[in-house]
């Protein structure tokens, strides 16, 4: 496994772009949290607050025709891959104009038009899917690649293992991205895991692994850029392990009493947005420019929320659409 090196000349414009995406995700998540409190967004909602850097750094190196699979915590991946906040927010509000027409909600957010093949309600289930997407892309003769995001908790599931082995055995164009936030719901993942860690597991399956500070968006960006080039170049699968932290509860319902408040407090000091912002300032970007960017993104999300709220609800009849061509709607009882 290779520790990522940093080389950050002339990086302000790039970092501004990355920061913009992170700010968008954060604003989206905060709006979502607030809307949930008001009962406008319902169900289990898992926020990416604190984990914005990994989706941002990785997806900023992808093409639109590259595909990704996500997890229950999928808003960040979806936005980073280029989905519109508006249709996403409409989805969370359950409206007809939502990217899934209101059928998915947070746990099944997806935007196939930008190659975001879906969040998933089943931990780890996206991994075999993304591996197969890579196989399908190769069969089609495409040079698009596939990226699978998942959490540390998912690395204890069989499909993680089968998926990595599969990708390695077939030399598939997949990048695996693990956002290791240390926790799987109320459980510390290391307390339930044997062996030296996730990187060693991936390596033992033949997937070369890079470990990176997952709260340093530039580090993620840089590592992802080179891994994605290797994957697209036919080098077979790669694994990027991003060390990060979930700054909020597991879901919006979770106050996370099982965590030491000092741990959380300390982690806030490593907030990826704050770090990127400090670094922008250090690189000489003016506070005014940063604030303008922040305001723009906040306005964009506010508009998305307003538009979602004004959007029409799906008609009940839509519940019978898109089940299947044979034996679907006509068979409704």
């Amino acid at each position: 496994m290779v520790a990522s090196q940093t080389n950050r000349e002339n990086s302000a414009p790039r970092l501004l772009d990355l920061y913009r995406t992170m700010v968008r995700i954060r604003a989206f998540e905060l709006a979502c949290e607030a809307a949930h409190k008001e009962g406008k967004v319902t169900g289990a909602v898992h926020l990416s607050i604190g984990q914005e850097a990994a989706p941002t750094g990785v997806c900023s190196n992808l093409r639109r025709d590259d595909v990704i699979a996500s997890t229950h915590r999928g808003h960040g991946h979806t936005l980073a891959k280029g989905a519109a906040a508006e249709t996403m927010m409409a989805e969370l509000y359950g409206r007809a104009t939502g990217c899934c027409g209101g059928k998915g909600g947070s746990m099944h957010i997806a935007d196939f038009s930008v190659g975001m093949l879906g969040a998933n309600g089943v931990v780890g289930a996206g991994i075999p899917i993304i591996v197969g997407a890579a196989q399908g892309l190769r069969l089609r003769g495409s040079d698009a690649i596939a990226v699978g995001f998942f959490g540390d908790g998912a690395t204890n599931r069989g499909p993680f293992y089968e998926g990595l082995n599969w990708a390695a055995a077939f030399g598939l164009p997949v990048l695996f991205v693990c956002e290791d936030n240390g926790w799987a719901a109320t459980t510390r993942t290391t307390s339930m895991s044997g062996g030296p860690g996730i990187a060693a597991r991936a390596e033992a399956l033949g997937v070369p692994t890079t470990v990176v500070d997952g709260n340093d968006v530039e580090a993620v960006d840089e590592a992802a850029a080179s891994l994605i080039a290797e994957v697209r170049g036919g080098g077979g699968p790669r694994f990027l392990l991003c060390e990060t932290y979930r700054l909020k509860g597991h879901t919006v319902h979770d106050a996370a009493p099982y965590r030491d408040p000092r741990e959380v407090e300390e982690r806030w000091t490593r907030d990826p947005l704050r770090r990127a912002r400090d670094r922008l300032l250090a690189l000489g970007v003016g506070a005014a420019e940063i604030e303008r960017l922040e305001a723009e993104e906040e306005a964009l999300i506010a508009a998305a929320s307003a538009s979602a709220e004004a959007a029409p609800w799906p008609l009940p009849a839509a519940a019978f659409d898109d089940v299947q061509d044979n034996g679907g709607a006509a068979w409704a009882n």
Partner: protein, 327 residues
């Protein structure tokens, strides 16, 4: 007689059984902090991490390990969190747990309980809302329970833990907060025994789990217009209480089965078919089923509601059946 919630009743059942028998233990993700619904609250504090066992996210191994632990004489209670996640452990449940006793000629026993919360709940969408009791009823070797009340959750979970064969215990997520009277002391609801929760002469309504409550509402409603519905809470899906259902339909001449699960190939088909086979000549109206449409559950409320069976629809079906009687 105290009052407990459906969730508290489950805690009491498990706690009492764990106190009674040191070989009873529970295993599943996050249960050390009370479990995802709080249905293990306080138990790790009392019994420690060796008996309230937190696990990796490894559903297949949770279930498979429980089979092995049961084979050496312990009584694991497996928590699957949402019945949907049990789909990650079906080989272990169906090929391993259910068939073990038979395929090895009775050498072993697999006294495990799998808790699989079912049902629509709070905009949970397609992968957190399923009710697949019909699947397990189809599998030789399995017992399937689905309590509708706190007392039955206490009594059936207790019976499940004491059962020497694998039991799939399907609690309904929408009922966790439901409060109700619960007997003091040892309370066991025998497996396979339905409960007539409302007597009636006109229509036999067979149901279980959350739709029991919707059915009662509907029964009260139609009673105001002179139709008396006998509501049978099946409680155990396998073995189902054929005798009690047939006796009732023999009297009323009319059967309505109501379940939240998809109607197509749902367990209502088994009941309706059996009644039609056994009581054809005594039926005053065709058998009838209400179940979910054959669509996944959607997130958005107006779409989710399409899946839901409201008391009004149940009442309507009862009226129609009763009217057919007159004809």
């Amino acid at each position: 007689m105290g009052e407990l919630s459906y969730l508290e009743a489950a805690i009491r059942a498990l706690r009492d059984e764990m106190r009674r028998d040191p070989l009873v233990w529970a295993v599943g993700e996050d249960i050390g902090r009370g479990g995802v619904f709080g249905q293990y609250r306080g138990l790790q504090e009392e019994f420690g991490p060796e008996r309230i066992v937190d696990t990796p996210i490894s559903e297949a191994c949770i279930m498979g390990a429980a089979v092995g632990a049961a084979l050496v004489g312990t009584r694991p209670v497996v928590e699957m969190r949402f019945s949907d996640f049990a789909l990650c452990a079906i080989d272990e449940l169906v090929n391993q747990a259910a068939k073990n006793r038979y395929m090895f000629g009775g050498q072993g026993r697999v006294p495990l309980v799998v808790r699989e919360p079912i049902g629509l709940w709070r905009s949970s969408a397609a992968q957190h809302s399923q009710s697949l009791e019909a699947w397990y009823a189809h599998i030789p070797g399995l017992v399937v329970t689905a309590p509708a009340t706190p007392a039955d959750n206490l009594g059936l979970l207790t019976a499940a833990i004491r059962c020497d064969d694998p039991v799939v215990h399907m609690e309904n997520k929408n009922l966790w907060g439901l409060r109700g009277a619960v007997p003091d002391g040892d309370h066991v609801v025998p497996l396979g025994v339905a409960s007539v929760i409302r007597p009636g002469r006109d229509v036999t309504l067979v149901t279980w789990s959350a739709t029991v409550h919707d059915s009662l509402v509907a029964a009260e409603e139609v009673a105001r217009q002179g139709v008396e519905v006998e509501v049978i809470d099946l409680r155990t899906i396998w073995p189902w209480d054929r005798g009690r259902v047939l006796d009732s339909v023999a009297r009323t001449g009319r059967l309505l089965v109501v379940h939240e699960a998809v109607k197509a190939a749902g367990f209502g088909g088994e009941i309706a078919a059996t009644v039609a086979e056994e009581l054809h000549g005594r039926l005053r109206a065709p058998v009838r089923r209400l179940g979910g449409p054959r669509i996944p559950v959607a997130y958005s409320k107006p779409l989710e509601d399409v899946y839901r069976i409201e008391p009004a629809r149940i009442a309507q079906a009862c009226f129609e059946l009763a009217r057919a009687a007159a004809a």
